[in-house]
Every structure is written in structure tokens, then in C-alpha cells.
Amino acid sequence: MNKTAVIEGLLFLVGDDGLETKQIADVLEMDGKTVTELMEQMKMNYSGEASGFELVEVAGVYKFMTKPELAPYIQRLIESPGKSNLSQAAMETLAIVAYKQPITRAEIEDIRGVKSERALQRLASHALVKEVGRAEGTGRAILYGTTDEFLQYFGLHSLQELPPFPEELQEQPSEEEIELFEK
């Protein structure tokens, strides 16, 4: 596989995070200068009409970004009815609240790795989560939990009916995990 294809695949995968010259150089075992030259060349490949995204360099980071002409289509996509009317962000947040309640926003964000205020608001507006108390300590952060509507909506009698929390997201792999998965 040629190097530009590898770089293309990696840049695709990391998306908005992008890659620094050094990261590309390390992974491909090239020197920085060669990478820079290669990237200049690659930029041209994506600049044409046929490509939906382009290669940009922002603050020393290379990344693919969709072309501005895509904006109206993206808007239409958001409005096009997908499978569920809860977004992945909302569903993810809801799942974390369901399993880990009572939980603060900071803890949710810690697990998700992204800001979750909007998702929480969305869930609250659907009456799926609510404030259930305040955390001990200085911040007295709001603790979130699920509502009766949540149980009703998902056809659950109680929270005990939820399948076990995925081990990949647990801090420590449980013993069962080791049993289920063999490396």
C-alpha cells in the first residue's frame, strides 16, 4: 500500500483531531521534511471538484475538512429523518445516566470525552432524565438520574432489567470480561 493511501486512511480515521507532522512521520517511519513535501502534494489531490473534502493544515495539524459547498446538504441531512429521533450524543448520555445514576455532568463528560450539556438538556426536555440531588463537596454539582417516563418509554419495570454495562467502558476489565474475551 502506498504512503499517500496510508496517510489518507489515517487522516480519515482521526477526522477533526487531525495529525501532526511528527505523528505521521512516526507512524510511517519517514522524516518530517519528506512528510511535509508529501502533504503539500496531497493537498492538491483533494482540491478538485471530485472530492467532498479537502486537506487543510491548521496550527500545525493536518486534517480533512468537508468543503464549504457541502453546507446546504449537511443541513438537509440533519433534517432528514434518520432511524431514531434521539441523536447518538443523546442516546449515549442517556445510557450513561441510566447505568451510572446518580451522576454529575462532569462524570458523564469524563466517560464520553466530550461536552454533554446540550445532550442533557435534550434528554431533560423529553423528561427522560431529571435532577435527583446534589453531589457532596464544594461544587454541589447537580446529580442526574432517569425518570419513570424513561422506564416506561423503554418498557422496563426497573433499572435491574438493563443488560450489563459494556466492559470496554469500565475502568477495570471484570473477571467475566476476561472469560468472555480471549486475546
Binding site: F12, L13, V14, G15, D16, D17, L19, E20, K22, Q23, I74, L77, I78, E79, S84, N85, L86, S87, Q88, A89, A90, M91, E92, L94, A95, I96, A98, D110, I111, R112, G113, V114, R118, R122, S125, H126, E136, G137, T138, G139, Y153, F154, G155, L156, E161, L162, P163, F165, P166, E168, L169
Partner: protein, 247 residues
């Protein structure tokens, strides 16, 4: 005779029986109850001699086999049973066992094929989606289930797996304790002079954790902060000491 006494190597009595059938190199449809029962029992005995727990399922199968064997040995009411001639008999006791073994073997076969697919598809990765923004608030649809939640968590797990370690991680190692001490004091200033110990950690980075811990110790030694804990396992609060100044 040698026995593989690792029961762990088998998924259950049917798996063990299939193993024995393979080892005896016999056609599954031509199973000799006497032979297979002896082999199976020898295996179970070996297990027990090693004082290993033999699961109930294995013992149940042992009982079934023994019952079958005894039926084979006793002449039936009509005539003597000839083992290899089972088709002439109605209600061959082996029938059920053979049916189960054949059925189970099929699933073992397809699970092998699935394993190969699994291996292949573990080499390809999809990119985490870009949050595109929430659509209008609409009433929730009826066909969302618990599964959708678990599925969302799986997607989250995949996304987290693809997190690329930042090169800044390396830079962080270069943060001196002195710099971190200044940062801690700055954070305390912003938090009106107190904050929990826990809040100084951003989690992931061990280097950062160690540096922060050492910085806090150093600040305590210098009397610039004090720490208090209400009870065992309670959050440790860090207070900026009044009157002392940062240099």
C-alpha cells in the same frame, strides 16, 4: 491411556463428546455407545481424581450415557439389541444423542466461520461520526429499545478506542513541579481558594497525576495550602492558606 483433563478446553459435554468421536475417528452416525461411554467416563473419573469440580452438565451427560449403555447391554423384551443395526429398531436410544451431536457440530462449524469473519473485520475501522447538531425536538418514536442505548455505548467504546494519544502528552512530562505548583495556586485562586483534591486531576495521564501530587505536597510543605479531610474516604479539600503569597 492419556486424557486431556482440562475441562476448560471444552464448551460442555457435547463438545467433549465430539472431541472423543474425533479422537476415535468414528463416524458420528456409527457411534458405539459402549466405546464412547467408556471414554467419557474415563475422562470424568480422571477429572475427579484430580479433585476438580466437574460441572453438573457433564455429570448429567454421564448419567445419560450410562443409562443408554445399560439398555444396550440388557436384552430387550423383543430381541437382543444389535448395536450397529439401529435402523431396524424403533426408538434407538442413540438417536437423540446423535441428533444433538450433529446439530451441535453444525453450530461449531458456523461459529468457526464467524470467527474468521470476526478476524477479518477487526482489521477495519470506521471513523467516529462528527456531531451534526440536533434535529428539531420531535416526540420520541415508539421503536427505541434498551438495545439502542447499549448500542450507543458500543459506539462510544469504539470512538474511545480510536482516541489518538496527543503529542502534548510528551510535552506534559516536561511540566516541572514548580510550574504545576503555580498552576495549582492559579486554579485555587479561581475557585475562591478551595477545591477538592480530586478536581486537580484530569484523569488519563499518569505523569500529570504524579506531578500534581508532588506539587501539592510541596505547596503544603511551604505552607501555601492546607488539606483537610472530613472522614475516611471523604474528598480531600485543598485550601489556599491565607496570608501566604505566591512567589
Amino acid at each position: 491411556m492419556e486424557y486431556n483433563v482440562k475441562l476448560d478446553a471444552f464448551e460442555g459435554p457435547l463438545d467433549l463428546l465430539l472431541h472423543l468421536v474425533n479422537r476415535l475417528e468414528i463416524d458420528i452416525y456409527e457411534i458405539s455407545v459402549l466405546q464412547i461411554t467408556d471414554q467419557y467416563m474415563a475422562f470424568i473419573h480422571a477429572m475427579q481424581e484430580l479433585q476438580l469440580d466437574v460441572a453438573g452438565e457433564y455429570l448429567l451427560m454421564a448419567a445419560t450415557l450410562l443409562e443408554m449403555k445399560s439398555k444396550m447391554l440388557l436384552p430387550t423384551e423383543e430381541e437382543e439389541y444389535i448395536e450397529d443395526d439401529y435402523e431396524e429398531f424403533e426408538g434407538d436410544p442413540r438417536e437423540e444423542l446423535i441428533r444433538r451431536l450433529v446439530e451441535y457440530r453444525k453450530y461449531k462449524l458456523v461459529s468457526e466461520q464467524l470467527k474468521q469473519r470476526e478476524a477479518k473485520w477487526q482489521l477495519v475501522y470506521a471513523k467516529p461520526p462528527v456531531p451534526l447538531g440536533e434535529p428539531e425536538v420531535k416526540p420520541l418514536s415508539e421503536d427505541i429499545s434498551v438495545y439502542d442505548m447499549v448500542s450507543a455505548l458500543q459506539k462510544l467504546a469504539r470512538r474511545k478506542q480510536l482516541e489518538v494519544p496527543k503529542t502534548t502528552k510528551i510535552e506534559r512530562q516536561e511540566i516541572s513541579i514548580k510550574d504545576r505548583m503555580n498552576e495549582v495556586m492559579a486554579v485555587l485562586d479561581q475557585a475562591y481558594g478551595k477545591k477538592t483534591f480530586y478536581e486537580f486531576y484530569d484523569g488519563s495521564d499518569r505523569e500529570q497525576t504524579v506531578t500534581t501530587f508532588l506539587a501539592v505536597l510541596e505547596l503544603m510543605k511551604k505552607g501555601m495550602i492546607s488539606c483537610r479531610q472530613e472522614g475516611n474516604f471523604a474528598d480531600i479539600m485543598i485550601y489556599k492558606t491565607e496570608g501566604k503569597r505566591r512567589e
